[in-house]
Subunit: 760 residues, 2 copies
């Protein structure tokens, strides 16, 4: 029995000892090292890029500027909208935009050569914020619209490319009649601001490319090997079977390592140099590569006096930075999730992606759900207090019930939302005291990725050694530990006998990517089906050999059990298949159920839920406050490996806590990032954690994944910011609507509160 | 349409330009280079192996002697009998036996360090030939029997381990009643000798091993990646999923590159050095590693005066050399095939593997069938002449008919044997002249490997790029060209869109090996089934999308054809599976039909047939003779790629011709190989070929493989030696029963003939 055991990580020993292979550890014979030249201007025309001195610098084998891109390629990439050049062509759009690259024998030589490249800019006006980008007469980042596609949507939902200047995409969703607003006792309008955050994946962006004989081999720290292959195929106009993507261990991604990042430049340099090329960014360059969307969220919510929620209109502006990346998909999710897990008569949601002269924003743990939960769970609390209701009672009245559909055509909620809320509240030992407050919130997102197919393969050698082929990247979440537990449980063997084969797109079964907490809930279903199919094959084989009905046999430790008999399979296989044995093999497939009435075209695979309760104590004199207790919970449905689940819940809660308390990328009006390095970008240290911090993994048992499991990599992050803001309100009566919740903002709010009270 | 096209080799450009990757081209960071210390004695006790000076020699990272093998391993290997040590322990058994190995930073340093290893021998008596080994009181190579297993056999067949001193295995087969000998008009007894030959694969034995973190990675020039993995698993007591075997292009094998050769030593050195290790042998070391079995074949054949063959008793001794390698399997095949393709009432066959103090013998193109055909086709000819019958008429009377079973329970012959014989005779433009003669013969073997299962996988990307996963090693036979043709034909695409994924045992579907001409006839069936399954999946998918019955749709160039409509599949897939696409995937499986009445437990997959006709002209003064014409034919059933088939027929015919005319490994009585290098081992040059040399590929259409195909990598080799010997008999009345057919032997035979005639 493997399910429910907190087995140690399969990759633990390797990683702790430093022997584990990450992309940065890949070395190829004759490999060169590449570095990038980045724009020092936030917005400028590129008048001249002269790399002639760099080309003859010591050790240099290839220089890549806009002049070096071979004709016939399509050197522009992007998730939905193809707007990001491998190297800048006519203009640069943010400080850090890539202008040139050099591959040399050493990194130092590459860096030295970059300094020899002369760039002449013609500065353009800069828009470094959502407001600036949307201001009347603001300069446009893309005067002509780049090529893009609109995802397909179902009933009530729509998408549009470039609906206005500096907006690359907007998502809209409407359900029910807007006229119900007129029937509401109260309509509240509030605005919230969500800060820009960096993923802070400890392993920087890195890839190794080896191009030869009309083939591309890429090793990359990337969450999505198959989509990467597809994008490279499109850029380089090569068939997908001429491109091999391999992904070793990934040292964290949190969404950042999607689609293309360093890969196209590495490939182009390898083409030019005819040598393998390694392109490893520094940690600081990560800040310039991908970020979480800052946002302005305006909510207009209609309620009855008894607290019943009726209607919500929302307008979200996401700061997408200079290139679209996954912004359209993040907009869709933020816009879809903004109503929160409540029963509404009417929803009218609009979410727009605003282009600014800052680093591109893309997928980030929570994926729009974080922004949505911050605003929605803050406003629910505010409304309860305005109506004189308890925030708990108000939620109890409105929360979706177990199995109730979120929106028409959508799948039912597969967690008991109130039960989870009661659980975290019970676990928080709150006793009221002056300047001490209690807050809580529910985080909620459609999990697993819409429409996503997954394939997996299980094969077992003559001796019962199991191989699992599965495209889920081991990115720290424990896939290489949990997936084998699923397989082992079904095959009646131990997880230690199951090895996950390295990811290689030539061989690994297709998968759309490691994201949306889809490992166990989506890929896990494909894995379980593959394992079940192999088990059935083996039992049928044994049944035929033994002349017994398959349903009288059972598989255990690679033996066939029939009553009291225990027959080893190895010799049975050798007898039938000859001296060198055999491998039983089967594939498993999973795809979320299609529903043409669902707004996002297919029903959500499962619902990812997190609950948080926080207690704060505020120093009214300084604005300093302490989160004295933080209790979070995620619902694993069924925990395949409880320790790994707890790791996910703790990690995501801390990421939410970090955003609540510290983390924010600060840009000035000229588009300069003021704290884009490890020293100035404040992340929580162990010391900064709440004195009492508890992450609970619930097993409510309603997940669609193997054994009732579901995903939980993001849930516990979602409610933390609002829970702490709500606790501040409870403690000292202030409402902060902008992240992070700094002492300065608390002090300012306290000042405003006393000023307001002091007024006649 | 791809089948039947002589498409150029998919690997041609890479190989001709020198860019193709062979194992010798694999470089790993920090890789060391290894060399081997070999015994200078043919048979000796090893009193002392002192490597202490080598261990501190410059650049040396690891030394492997019998003292360095970690305890707990099973450092002895062998196909069926585990008798060959990785490094010698108590004794050495042939000149070239491995005593020690060194891994150093350079090959030169490794060679230098080997010279510092001191070895003290106590010489033992040597048996360097079959006769010496079987002589009364001969010293035994293995005074105690090594561990071994006996393959399973069906009716009439049996195997036995070590039935007598210096015999490691014997195979026996009996069909019908021996008493029919008494009813025969004549019983003829003849003895034939078959020479030892070297495979002469141009790429030497080479492997690279990288052992770390409890895992073994091996790149090897090996025909059988999965059996190699299995043997390494046994030796190193590691699970099969902790071992990855990768096989790049192989530069020829002809059977030699089976099971373990350089791999275990490379792995052990990598374990000891904790660095990757490359062990590349020289061409000359190949002579010391694996060879073709020399043989003594005694035939006792009962016939009627009208030429009807009735009964054959045979006794074959194979010279297995010092270690058993694949000898038991070769013995089985030689013993099973010795009756030839004729209708018998009684067969009684015994084949024994004799251990001698010479290089080990193993699989070789023809695999026992070559020895059998040499003796059998010579004797049929001799008997015809003794009875005053034409050799053609005699064969016509006795040849198995199309679909007639070779032995009880066995599958029917799937070639028209007489038709092929008439075809080669018609193509040979023989006009009688003094000292000119015509000979011919039929080669015959059960093809495809007994009992062998094969798996393959086909997957197709969103855009219709096809991946083929298939364990057949590209060893020069053209598998990477022919297999894609099969897939392309079934998927309605071009072969250029099908890429064979590199072989990697973690991922590649299981296969027992690239041998027995099984590529098209065995693996090809699995490949065709996988392609068919994918095609059916795609048509079912399109049918569901289009609301049309699948049988109204057709697949062509990744478009769905319905009547005059031609719908591209890519967009249809993207709509259904979302933005990053999908891969359709299916596996195919093939296994030969089991039959418990068949002597070898499963029926033969197909029959590999070759026909040869030769014309010779003899110079009676010198014994020099010329093969003025050689016509061979193989039956491809249906030629997937006619040019590749012709390459196989030409190549195997030349290998037979080479053995007939030149090639032989010569040992002296002390076990020293006298011609084990490229200068002294005589292979045919282009100049040496017959003035008229024609290789015909027949397409008789009865193969069980895709589109009626069958294997043909070995057939045309089998009959060549007997055809030439028969032509010599026809030309000048001599009968040579020992290979090669040197001028000395011809002259000697002519002398004996004239002496005999001169006798009163």
């Amino acid at each position: 029995m493997s399910i429910g055991l907190s087995l140690p990580r399969a990759d633990g020993a390797e990683k702790l000892s430093g022997r584990a292979t990450y992309t940065a550890d890949i070395a190829r014979p004759g490999m060169l090292h590449a570095k990038l030249l980045r724009s020092s201007h936030a917005h400028a025309k590129l008048l001249r890029v002269d790399a002639s001195r760099a080309r003859t610098a010591p050790g240099v084998h290839a220089v890549l500027t806009r002049e070096d891109v071979p004709s016939g390629l399509m050197p522009i990439y992007g998730y939905f909208i193809k707007d990001q050049p491998i190297v800048a062509t006519d203009r640069v759009r943010y400080i850090g935009d890539i202008i040139a690259a050099v591959a040399a024998e050493t990194e130092a030589q590459a860096v030295a050569a970059l300094a020899l490249i002369e760039v002449e800019y013609e500065a353009l006006p800069v828009v470094a914020s959502i407001e600036a980008a949307l201001a009347e007469g603001a300069p446009e980042l893309f005067p002509t619209a780049p090529m893009g596609i609109v995802p397909a949507y179902g009933e009530g939902a729509r998408g549009a490319l470039r609906p206005a200047a500096n907006i690359c995409f907007e998502f809209g969703y409407r359900m029910g009649e807007p006229s119900v607003f007129d029937t509401c006792d109260h309509v509240f309008e509030d605005e919230f601001r969500f800060s820009r955050m960096w993923h802070y994946h400890l392993e920087p962006f890195v890839s190794v490319a080896d191009v030869r004989d009309g083939r591309i081999e890429v090793w990359s720290s990337n969450q999505n090997p198959f989509p990467l292959r597809k994008e490279l195929s499109r850029i380089f106009r090569m068939p997908e079977n001429a491109i091999t993507v391999r992904v070793p261990y990934v040292g964290g991604g949190f969404g950042a390592k999607n689609n293309c990042k360093t890969e196209p430049a590495a490939v182009l340099l390898s083409m030019l140099a005819q040598r393998p090329v390694r392109l490893a960014l520094t940690l600081e360059e990560g800040f310039l590569t991908n970020t979480q969307h800052a946002a302005i969220l305006r909510l207009r919510t209609g309620v009855m006096s008894d607290g019943r929620l009726v209607a919500r209109q929302s307008h979200i502006e996401l700061d997408s930075g200079a290139y679209s990346d996954a912004s359209p998909l993040v907009a869709e999710k933020a816009g879809y999730r903004i109503p929160g897990p409540y029963q509404w008569e009417h929803v009218d949601s609009l979410c727009r992606c605003v282009m600014t002269n800052t680093a591109p924003a893309g997928p980030f743990r929570g994926f729009g759900g974080t922004q949505a939960a911050w605003a929605s769970e803050s406003q629910i609390d505010m409304i309860a207090r305005r109506l004189g209701l308890s925030p708990l009672a108000m939620r109890q009245k409105n929360l979706l019930k177990l199995h109730q559909a979120f929106m028409p055509g959508e799948s039912g909620v597969d967690s008991d939302l109130e039960d989870g809320l009661q659980t975290v509240l019970a676990a928080l030992h709150h006793t009221p005291a002056p300047d001490r407050g209690l807050g809580f919130a529910v985080g909620f997102k459609d999990g697993g990725g819409v429409n996503k197919p997954a394939q997996a393969r299980v094969k077992v050698s003559t001796n019962g050694d199991v191989f699992l082929g599965c495209g889920t990247v081991e990115i720290g979440q424990g896939a290489r530990t949990a997936m084998p537990q699923i397989v082992a449980e079904i095959l009646g063997t131990s997880a230690a006998r199951v090895r996950v084969a390295p990811i290689d797109t030539d061989h690994t079964p297709f998968d759309q990517g490691t994201n949306a907490s889809s490992g166990v809930a989506v890929m896990g279903q494909a894995v379980a089906r593959a394992a079940t199919a192999v088990r059935d094959q083996v039992l049928a084989f044994a049944a035929a050999r033994m002349g017994a009905p398959p349903d009288t046999l059972r598989l255990e430790d690679w033996h066939i059990i029939r009553g009291n008999e225990r027959l080893p399979l190895g010799p049975m296989i050798m007898r039938h298949y000859g001296g060198t044995g055999f491998e039983f093999t089967a594939d498993g497939f999973f795809k979320s159920e299609a529903d043409h009435h669902a707004p996002l075209e297919a029903r959500c695979v499962y619902w990812e839920i997190g609950w948080a309760a926080a207690e704060v104590e505020v120093d009214r004199g300084t604005g300093q406050f302490t989160v004295t207790q933080l209790v979070v919970a995620g619902d694993a449905g069924r925990a395949i490996n409880p320790m790994l689940c707890r790791g996910q819940d703790e990690g995501s809660a801390i990421m939410g806590y970090a955003q609540a308390m510290f983390e924010t990328m600060r840009y000035d009006a000229a588009g300069e990032l003021l704290n884009g390095d490890a020293l100035h970008y404040r992340v929580p240290l162990a010391d900064d954690l709440p004195a009492r911090f508890t992450a609970l993994t619930l097993e409510q048992g309603h997940g669609p994944g193997p054994f009732g499991s579901k995903g939980l990599g993001e849930g516990a992050m979602l409610p933390v910011t609002a829970a702490i803001a709500n606790a501040l309100h409870d403690a000292v009566g202030i409402r902060i609507t902008e992240l992070p919740l700094t002492p300065e903002r608390v002090l300012h709010a306290l000042d405003q509160l006393s000023t307001a009270k002091a007024l006649p």
